[in-house]
Amino acid sequence: MIPVIEVEHVNKHYGEFHALKDISLTVSKGEVVVVIGPSGSGKSTLCRTINRLETITDGEIRIDGNVLPKEGKGLAKLRADVGMVFQSFNLFAHKTILENVMIGPIQVKKIPKAEAAEDARRLLDRVGVGHQADKYPAQLSGGQQQRVAIARALAMKPKALLFDEPTSALDPEMINEVLDVMIELAKEGMTMVVVTHEMGFARKAADRVVFMADGEIVEESTPDEFFTNPQTSRAQDFLSKLITN
């Protein structure tokens, strides 16, 4: 069990507001961890601190054993080791699909353009949008955009991928095309942290479910155990609402 992401006693404040309370979480190589919890519980904040889009108040975060530095070149490099997929896709609006996937390897890893293009086309084929390579993001459906975003993250050959509610902004009929790609990745052994309320995905692909509430990790167990027999009243409460919705 080689740890890839190690979060140790991390606290995060927004001004007076205590958004993450003494969070500790280790994700091992090849493990898929689903983070679940009510809105405002700190799930996004946790993802964003893991690749340092947000600073932390105290505690320590290590990626592949390296402590995340505060700012500058070293940080940018470590950040590239952890890919991130956002709820709102965030594809670069002024670049084509192909350029979206190529720009990271070219700019950050200084990979020759031809090689990066070849890589990018292969990744786009893999997520099923190869034929859209020369279009702009706005010309694609949400589901296609999100798959491109996954390809863009994969292009950096990251050690782990973070997904922050990757299907929440999608029309229902597009959710599965994105989840299928993620399940494929999980099977291939990608280390993943996935914030999602998709129980189907959690049951199929997750090794562990982490339940958060009010900035704390309240419960941690296997998907089966969590969904059929939640231990805390907060998790029970949350799940009953999730199922009735």
């Binding site: 690749n51 889009l53 700012e71 070149k73 940018a76 490099k77 950040r79 590239a80 080791d81 952890v82 890919g83 991130m84 956002f86 709102s88 965030n90 594809l91 670069f92 609006a93 002024h94 720009i103 990271g104 700019q107 950050v108 702009y136 975003a149 863009r152 993250a153 950096m156």
Partner: protein
């Protein structure tokens, strides 16, 4: 037309003077404005602080006061005596604050998700700005930036008060030669209209270019 042809030497001097102040001042304003604008959105708190302080201090100073500072205080501290150079510095440093603010408001029209996704890919601050944010900000920045540049062109006439020869000072010289001040000023206005027209042409060209690039 006699006003022009009889005093050709002065008109040439004045127009060249205005264009010099404009051209060199613009370079200072754009370069410094980009740096200060970038500082204001940078992840480094000190840079943000310095950028904000510079903009607030200089932008809230009347331009004539800037000229006074550069005409009287700066020569004492630094060994610069060339009035034209001092004038260019004064107006360049002044206009840079407007360039910076225009740039910053353009940057703010680009959704934050764009910069976050670029950072998440591992790009450095300069890469995020150069490849992702500024190209998308350019379109919305061009019209207000041109307004800043046109205002700056007209502001060059303030240099006349500090005996720097330009289109703002030509009236005084021509009055000495017995020309009608009203007629002279109309011609000055006409020259400015022509220059502003040229700038508008540049603006149309840039807007078209960036529209295609999208």
């Amino acid at each position: 037309m006699g006003v022009i042809t009889d005093n050709w030497d002065l008109w040439v001097d004045a127009t060249v003077g205005t264009l010099q102040i404009f051209f060199f001042g613009l370079i200072i304003a754009l370069v410094l404005g980009f740096i200060v604008g970038a500082m204001r959105v940078s992840p480094i708190p000190i840079a943000r602080w310095v950028g904000t302080a510079y903009v607030n201090l200089v932008r809230n100073t009347p331009l004539t006061l800037m000229f006074f500072v550069f005409a009287f205080a700066v020569p004492v501290v630094f060994e610069i005596r060339d009035l034209r150079l001092l004038g260019i510095l004064a107006i360049g440093l002044y206009t840079a604050t407007y360039v910076a603010e225009t740039l910053r408001s353009g940057i703010n029209t680009v959704p934050v998700g764009q910069a976050e996704a670029a950072r998440a890919v591992g790009m450095s601050f300069t890469q995020v700005m150069g490849h992702i944010v500024l190209p998308q900000a350019a379109r919305s920045v061009i019209p207000p930036m041109m307004s800043v540049i046109i205002a700056f062109l007209k502001n060059t006439t303030v240099a006349a008060g500090f005996s720097i020869m330009n289109l703002g000072s030509i009236r005084a010289y021509l009055s000495e030669r017995g020309e009608n001040a009203m007629v002279v000023l109309l011609w000055v206005a006409l020259v400015f209209v022509v220059m502003v027209f040229a700038l508008s042409g540049v603006q149309r060209y840039l807007e078209k270019k960036w529209r295609v690039a999208r």
